[in-house]
């Protein structure tokens, strides 16, 4: 039986981070992953991540994956792929299936970083080909370059449903509706808003009645549900679709820990059955640790920190570092993790209905019901100000752990302050030089540069644009409102693509000045 100091199961952000930390401290470390490629969820994420610079914010998920792999390689972590761990025993024996072979390994310490599995829902027709998981859609389009479908209905308004809807549109699919049985959008408002402004209608308090088709999906019927989740007769709506995408939550994949005899607990806020563990991932079994989504569904940014913590704790357990060194390293990671676990979407706030921001501003109800901030709600946020000339309009209205906008502006126009969840404000008296960095850096695509009055009855709006084909200067079309409906004529007057913008193009449209605070997207006609 082959022996390692540390065996890690799962090569996602948490497992790789744990491996890097442990290997740097001298532990002989191996990471097993069932996939052909490492990185876990990261290689499917093509959007810019939230967080702060320390958490690699505004870097796209797949790039973070590449960075982690390079670091793991440099640190000397052995990553074994196509290796499914099928058994874990109390004495830290790990059983691995590689092809048809079953291999046994023994670790002096083990870190389980297996991530999460997608939840499912059933409805008549749910087994038809064409009903797919959101993860499957991501795998097809972002890893294999194949369109998951042409016309898609998305079920689920959490961050996964929102992000995957946007990704589907980016690769050329049409998302005909975003549906959720819950009465309010579950994910970040900025993710919802970028989907809504492209014209995807949101149906909250709705769910699927039936998927139609004989050999594969050809249509779907949804209907409104009451507060007890029963269908309200007469509210049915039908869509012709070839694909129904399910994004109805994730559950920790904690089976291995249960098998090994770890103490487990059911915790709805963490997404299901999770091992009982301390803040550094120590389970009830000495030398067995957990990190990442398997210990509670969160984010890649927190998964990476948890991974590092578990790696450090394992190094101390095996005597590679002293207690003092461990404690000082853990303390600084504690602080970073604490920063991420703040705001309206923090684990402790799951399921709570929040009506006011930390600043005491009423939250946008329209955002929660329809996916975009209504015109009459917008002016109350501190990122929305008016002045002559080009200036930023920041439509980021919820407390989320994110601040790349503040770092992006070298002119000091945008401030979030010390608390990472605070709403971004436009600094009074600051002078915007129209460089565009804030628009391109905003992970939520929530910043626009507006010149409300160009002096000739027109206004210009600069918006982030990540679609193909990229319109050319002179292209005529429509300015779309936050709800995705055409509000005015628009002409593209500038298209900027720069390396520093990292594939977010900046489109400037000219519109009648009455629409300066209304038009937020462009559609060529």
């Amino acid at each position: 039986m082959k022996r390692y100091d540390l065996i890690i199961v799962g090569a996602g952000p948490s497992g790789l981070s744990a491996g890097i930390e442990a290997a740097k401290k001298g532990l002989r470390t191996v990471v097993f992953d069932e996939n052909e490629k490492p990185g876990g969820q990261l290689f499917k994420q093509i959007h810019k991540f939230f967080g702060s610079k320390e958490h690699r914010a505004k870097v796209r998920g797949y790039v973070i994956g590449q960075q982690l792999l390079e670091e793991a390689d440099r640190a000397g972590v052995e990553v074994v792929l196509n290796a499914t761990v099928i058994g874990l025993y109390q004495d830290k024996e790990v059983v691995v299936k590689r092809g048809d072979r079953i291999e046994h390994y023994k670790g002096n310490a083990v870190i389980i970083a297996t991530g999460a599995a997608e939840n499912m829902v059933t409805f008549p027709g749910w087994t038809l080909p064409g009903v797919i998981g959101a993860g499957a859609a991501q795998t097809m389009m972002n890893l294999h370059g194949v369109l998951p479908g042409k016309r898609v209905l998305m079920l689920g308004s959490g961050n996964v449903g929102l992000v995957v809807s946007f990704q589907l549109e980016q690769c050329g699919c049409e998302v005909v509706a975003l549906v959720d049985a819950a009465p309010r959008v579950g994910g970040y408002g900025v993710h919802a808003a970028k989907v809504a402004r492209t014209g995807v209608p949101f149906y909250l308090s709705h769910t699927i009645v039936e998927a139609e088709g004989t050999d594969c999906v050809t249509g779907v019927t949804i209907a409104e549900v009451d507060s007890t989740f029963h269908f309200i007769p007469g509210t049915e709506k039908h869509f012709d679709v070839d694909t129904i995408c399910l994004a109805v939550g994730l559950s920790p994949m904690s089976q291995l820990l249960k098998m090994a005899g770890c103490r487990m607990v059911d915790d709805a806020k963490k997404g299901g059955q999770v091992p009982v563990c301390d803040p550094y991932g120590r389970t009830s079994l000495p030398g067995v640790y957990v990190a990442g989504d398997v210990a509670g569904i969160e984010e890649a940014s927190s998964a990476m920190i948890e991974g590092r913590m578990a790696g450090i704790a394992a190094a101390e357990y095996l005597g590679y570092i002293g207690k003092d060194e461990m404690e000082s390293e853990l303390a600084s990671l504690d602080k970073a993790l604490d920063g991420l676990r703040q705001g309206m979407f923090a684990p402790q706030n799951r399921g709570k209905q929040i009506t006011e921001t930390e600043e005491g501003i009423e939250v946008s109800q329209n955002l929660l019901l329809h996916g975009y901030v209504a015109d009459d709600e917008l002016e109350r946020y501190p990122g929305v100000t008016h002045k002559s000339g080009v200036h930023p309009v920041i439509e980021c209205t919820q407390n989320i752990p994110c601040n790349p906008c503040q770092d992006a502006c070298k002119k000091g126009c945008i401030s979030i302050g010390a608390k990472i969840t605070s709403l971004p404000i436009v600094v009074e008296g600051s002078e915007c030089i129209n460089c565009g960095m804030c628009v391109a850096s905003c992970s939520g695509q929530a910043i626009f540069l507006v010149d409300e009055d160009c002096g000739d009855g027109t206004a210009t709006v600069t918006l982030p644009y990540e679609f193909l084909p990229l319109p050319e200067v002179g292209t005529k079309g429509k300015g779309l409102g936050r709800d995705g409906k055409a509000v005015c004529d628009a002409e593209v007057v500038s298209v900027k693509s720069m390396k520093a913008f990292d594939k977010t193009n900046l489109l400037t449209i000219r519109i009648p000045k009455e629409y300066a605070m209304k038009a937020r997207f462009f559609k060529a006609v």
Partner: protein, 108 residues
């Protein structure tokens, strides 16, 4: 019903390697060597991978990561091959799976 993404606004043009031929229910189809069989089939518009033994009801790609077994087919005579995680090779013989066989139910 489906096709390949020619150019992606973030990922650009994907390098997929060598185009190879294989057969799907006897018909000649093209796909890229090494990509999952299911990806090549999806690009060719194939939706149904198998019919269940009991209900004869159709199944296709569902999880795309090897967990649900909805996508299994008969590949080179071997049934229950998860096509979403099995790399495509030149000349593969991929057949719709009826129950556990490549023969349609009426011929079984």
């Amino acid at each position: 019903m489906s096709e390949r993404i020619k150019e992606h606004p973030i990922l650009g043009v994907q390098e997929k390697g060598r185009l190879v031929r294989f057969t799907y229910d006897g018909k000649e189809v093209e796909g890229y060597e090494g990509e999952p069989i299911a990806a090549a089939l999806k690009a060719a518009g194939v939706m149904v991978h198998r019919y269940t033994q009991k209900e004869h009801s159709p199944r296709g790609i569902f999880c795309a990561i090897g967990r649900c077994t909805d996508c299994v087919m008969v590949v080179d005579g071997v049934p229950n091959v998860r096509t979403c995680i099995t790399p495509l090779a030149e000349g593969m013989k991929v057949c719709t799976q009826y129950g556990v066989s490549e023969k349609p139910f009426e011929e079984q």
